[in-house]
Every structure is written in structure tokens, then in C-alpha cells.
Amino acid sequence: MALLELHNVHTYYGKIHALKGLSLRVEKGEIVTLIGSNGAGKSTTLRTISGLLTPRQGEVRFGGKRIDHTPPHEITQLGVAQSPEGRRIFPRLTVLENLEMGAYLHNTRSPTYHEDLERVFQLFPRLRERTSQKGGTLSGGEQQMLAIGRALMSRPQMLLLDEPSMGLAPVLVEQIFEIIKTINSQGMTVLLVEQNALQALGIANRGYVLQSGEIVLEDDAKALRENEMVQKAYLGLE
């Protein structure tokens, strides 16, 4: 049984039909990437999984349990964490408070909380120096680190990452992908949405290509990298 499974999911924004019968699955321990051009519906897919949007039709299952009509905070409780598009750091909370909010479901007095915090600081040493800085005053790259760190603080089984490399300097993009690989090797299942298709496919096990709300291609990451259509449309290769 797949850890996450979407079956024939239709999501709307009012009258706009954003996901048109999307199906995908993510197995435990995998990195799966979702690529597609702007407006294809990648973020909508993640929002639907997290419960911020409710599909009008279709099923979402996590660990076998239907979650398509479960409110977002309960989905987080089940073990899904999202680092959303645009980072969405709480601007007037400090870095430490942002991380505490990530661990909202856990006791911040417990030793495990401190271990989690330590792990985040080891992944992103820069955050350690900035614990009492307001989230809104961090640089874009630091906010991205905080968004990922905050998602990790809920101790999830599965991490949804929406364009974690967006707006980062090339060195940092490299670093972020390294970190995703590290987190995954420690047992985390990852669903990765990326514009940076080449690098995403470089670390993923499998990938899906999304076009106007529909999956048009799904394959092993390696096969997708060699796929002609993918190379033309998403990798900028001729």
C-alpha cells in the first residue's frame, strides 16, 4: 500500500477547474517529484493533499485512510507536513517561534522537541544564529530554510515541498537539494514540487509531469530525464 495515494481528484477554485482527475501515489521512503509549467496545478495538488482545498470529486488517502474531507490541522496531525509555496513564514514571530509553531502538536518542554530543534539547526546552521530575529526580516534563502525546518518540526512521516529552490542563489539550490536527499536518507518520504526539473529528477526516485491539471507522464526519474518531451518542455534541452 502506498503511503499517499490520490485517485481521480478534481479540485476547483470556484468555477475554475484546477485539477482534472489527477491520480498519483507516493511509496514510503520515496522522493517523488511533480513537475509542470506555471499554472499546471502543482501547488493546488499539495494544497489538496494538506486539506487547504477540498476536492469536489475523487479520493485522497494517507496511510490507507481517507483524508480528502479532513481539516488541515488533522492532516498535519496524521503526519503530513508542507513547506508551502512562497514560504509563508509568520512574519512577526521570531525564527524560534516559527519553529515552535511547526512543533505545535508536540510538547515544547519534552527532550524530543529539543532533539528536533537540534536536528533543524544542524541542517540549517544559519537559523541557529537567528533564533530571535523576526521571520519577516529574514532573507529569502533563510526564509526557505526556516519553512523547511518548520515543516520538519512537526516530526512528519511525509514532507510536501513546494518549490524549495525558488529564488535561491545557485549555491543554495545545490545545498537545498543535498539537504532533501539527507532528510530522505533518514527515512522521510518526500513529495517535491519543482520548476528546477533537472535537479529534482536528479534526486527523485520517480516523477510525474502535470499539464493543466492532468498527469500527462509518469515514470522513473531517470527515464523522465531522458524523455524527449520532458527535455524539450522542462529541461530546456533541445
Binding site: T76, R88, E97, M101, Y104, H114, S132
Partner: protein, 407 residues
Amino acid sequence: MSPIVPMLYTVRVMAAEAKATTSPHTGQRSVGEIARTVLGPLLQLLLFIVGAAASLGLLVIVLALLLSASTPDLLSRVVTILPQVIIDGLVRGFLFATIALGYTMVYGVLEFINFAHGELFMVGGVVGAYVGFFLDRAGIIDGFNPFLFVVVVVAAGMTVSGLLAVTVERIAYRPLRNAPRLVPLISAIGVSLVLQDLARLFMTNFPTSEPLGFNARYNSPDYGPPLTLFEMNVGERSVPVVLSPKALIFITVATLMLIGLNYLVNATRLGKAIRATAQDMPTASLMGINVNQIISLTFLIGGALGGAAGALFGLNVGAVNPYMGLIPGLKAFTAAVLGGIGNITGAMVGGIVLGFMEAFVASYLGLFTGGAISGAAYADIVAFSMLILILIFRPSGLLGEATTTKV
């Protein structure tokens, strides 16, 4: 990509580095840190109190000096009542502040003005009056411990108004959360009218044998004579500066509530969840925060503070009626806007500033115009002119951040 990008990045990081306070992280906040986050806003409030009292006091003294040519004893009259005016300003200020907090907290989370908030204040007053009423009927009010009485009316007012606020949100606002902004606002005005008339119905019919009445007395134990704080020597006369015990109770309880609220909002997990929800509701829900629960909690706290203010206000003036929430509600709204709506410290500061302005106008306008204009009658004009001026010149308020999404 061009090499300029990492360079720019470094520059930005360096700028941020310069701003960052380098406190070593400990995971748990130290006592000192909590004290700072809790007492910081109160210190700010204290500064505003002293500042408002001093600057307004100075202003009237200068005015008195300028006008003393025509009326020689003006200065001594101005100085004689000054301490009393300051005390009056403080009481009014804390009244507006406690009510304003309800407006501002709800606005902070939902960006919605709960125009029925003044009625929650009224309900607190009516509940307090009922407590006094039943104790009186039982014949035990005279011997009743005055401090226990305060505790009982405040607790009763907080409970009823708090729960009422939660109920109102659940019934009249939550179903409209995704409607256009004007819709819940109209709903709030409707709720306000409904609550006024329900209170009137209740007060004039309950208990059936001998109802409380429309303009009801607020019975309370005897709080004793006013306390003489100090004697002031003006010329050859000696004037006592007095503080009524009820005013002292009001100031004390309001201060305690403000400390409690600051602690809750700034230092507890729940308070952080409230702030996170106010800053970004969908993202807060991704953290596992049940945002509906947080919204209910916000209404509960705001309603409870309003109810406590009503119970104490009624006690202070000795009477209540179903419409008593209207004007204080509007003024507290002014105070919230003055301080920067959505900003908790701002609501307290706005309340204090407005309270002082009103007290000074009420007492000194008549004095300076030789009795031609009665200050007490025109104090309301000050509050509402102030509202208009703020909305024109500084819509974000004294402490608010500039935003473009205001109602």
C-alpha cells in the same frame, strides 16, 4: 546565472546579520525573556500614561497662565482639580482599553470589526447588576465582603459575555466567513440590535415577580468613603486628592487583566497560536493549529474582557441599562483605531490616550470658556473628531503598521 546574484545574496544576509540580536538559543525562554515580553507592553503603556498626563497637564497650565490676565484665580483653579482629572482620565482610559482589546483581537485574527462588542460590555454590566439585585433580595448585600463581590461580578460578567461572544461568532459570523467583507459587518450590527432588545426584554421581565427594570440600579456592598491620597496646598487652601474605592478597584482589576492578557498572548503556546493565526490563517492550519478553535478563543477572551469591563463600569456608576454599551463601544473602537487596530498594545495605549483627552476636555473646557461651553457635554465630540482625524491622517494608528487592507 550571473555572479552578481550570490553577491547580492551575501549583501542581504550581511544586512540581516547586522540587525540580528545575538541571543544564544536555549529552546526554552528564560524568565527574563518572558518578563520582557510581558512587561514590555505594560511599560510602554505606563510611559503613555505618564506622557499623556504630563503633556495634557502642562498644556492646561500654560493655557491657564496665558488666560490668567483676565481671570486671576484661573491658575489655582486649574491646578486644584488637576490630580482629580488625571485620576478620572485613568479610569476612563482603562475602561476604553479593556473594551478596545476585544475589538482589536478579533480584528487581528479575522480583519473584521465586531460591532456587537459594545453589547458584550453591556451584558457584563447587566449580569453584575443581577448579582447585586439577587444579593439585595436575599438581604445579604450589606454584610457582603466587598472584595468577594468584585470577584463574583467580574467572574460572572466574564463568563456570560465570553460565552455569548463565542456563541455569536458561531451563529452569526462563522457561516459568513467567506462572504464579502461588508456582509459580516452588517450581521454584527444586527447582532448588536438583537442583543440590546434581548437585554431589555430580559431586564423588564425577569424575575417575573419583580423584574430588574430597564434603568436598573446596580446594588453593591458599601465600599466606604473615598480614600484621600494626599493633601495639596494651593495658595493658603489645602485640597485633598481623593480616589473612590470603586475607581481604585477598576484600575486594579483592569491592570491585572492587561498583565494576564499580555502573558497569554506573548508568552504561552496558545498566545503564539493566536498570533500565528492572525498573521496567516492557512499556514497556521498547516502547523496543526485548529484555527476555528483559535477564533473561538479570541472571541472568548475579547468577550470576557468586555464583560469584566461592563461589570466594573456598572459597579462604578451604580446603574445599568440595555443601551449602555453603545457609546463606550464606539469610543473603545476609536481607541482601538487610535492605537492601530489589530495591535494589542496599541489598543491599551489608544484607550489611555483617549481617556485622558476626554477627561481633560470634560473638566477644563468649561473652565477655560468661563462656563460658556460645558466640557462634559462636549467630551464625546473629542472622541469622534479624533476618530475622523486618525482615519484621515494616520489610518494605521499610533502603533499600527501601515496596511492597505482595512475595513
